[in-house]
Symmetry: C2
Subunit: 140 residues, 2 copies
DNA sequence: TTCCTTACTGAAAATCATTTTCAAATAGTA
DNA sequence: TACTATTTGAAAATGATTTTCAGTAAGGAA
């Protein structure tokens, strides 16, 4: 069983059927090291399953997002791309050169959020943190 | 001089002309306490200047963003809304109830970014941090 | 295994946001 | 006041996403 099949399992466990189209989309997105737009998923997945339609890509991405298997990536250039979601509380680190996405964890923003909560009177529920930089390859 | 006129001045200083349409858009966005989509700006600004066209809203927002007077706000529901930009290095705090936007500063992520840089080999150039919660009003 | 129901499919059409085109209007300098 | 380049709004064009629909096929039931 390849790792991407755990996604197919999850789809199945949630009452969705496993089809050739979904296999192709899942395989494509699961293996990606950078965020892919629906069109990019379509282009790549059609190399695996020629008859795939773009509409099915949209519909499959929607389901994968609903199951928290993928997540939308917000970037200055746009917010339509998706990447496999990290497990647990993770944040993104994006390479401005090649677009590669890495996850990291271990941010401790408790002190910060407590301080902001005190200053503003807000009850803070969530945070988005994302770092941008250059990966090892793109630095040189 | 109302405060929003500093934006008009900036437009003028950068070679753009001051028109009734731009006045209406600037006044609308400058005074907003939550992020507005182009359509929302259009609806509100047309109360000031009836003949305004939606296209002009898009074009004016583009210029204001270019001059860093406004910034795009990324939210789970979408990323098309704009708010007056903060001065200096500031981050956003969004109320999940009413949509109100506040700025805060004084995040110290140096320790974090250094640690991530060491672990990943990335050269980190920038970060996006955004907090979500409930404002004083919406808490009660 | 075969059957049957229902979910899924791709194509085409519809929708929605945004951008481009264009001729008329006008800001603001000369 | 006159002039010229910028700006305008409307309409058309574009591009992304969603909906519709009739045919297909997954996968549980028999």
């Amino acid at each position: 069983m390849t790792a991407s099949e755990t996604w197919l399992e999850q789809l199945h466990d949630n009452g969705y059927r496993i089809t050739a189209a979904r296999r192709a989309v899942v395989h494509t997105v699961f293996g990606a090291t950078h965020a892919l737009t629906p069109q990019e998923v379509y282009d790549a997945a059609r190399k695996i399953y020629r008859a795939l339609g773009l509409v099915t890509v949209y519909r499959t991405l929607e389901k994968l997002e609903e199951l928290h298997l993928i997540q939308r990536v917000h970037q200055p250039v746009g917010c339509q791309a998706f990447i496999a979601a990290g497990v647990g509380h993770q944040h993104l680190l994006l390479c401005q050169g090649c677009g590669q996405v890495e996850f990291f964890e271990g941010d401790d923003l408790d002190a910060l959020t407590r301080s902001i909560a005190r200053k503003t009177g807000y009850q803070i529920n969530e945070h988005w943190l994302q770092l941008f930089g250059l990966c090892m390859n793109c630095r040189s």
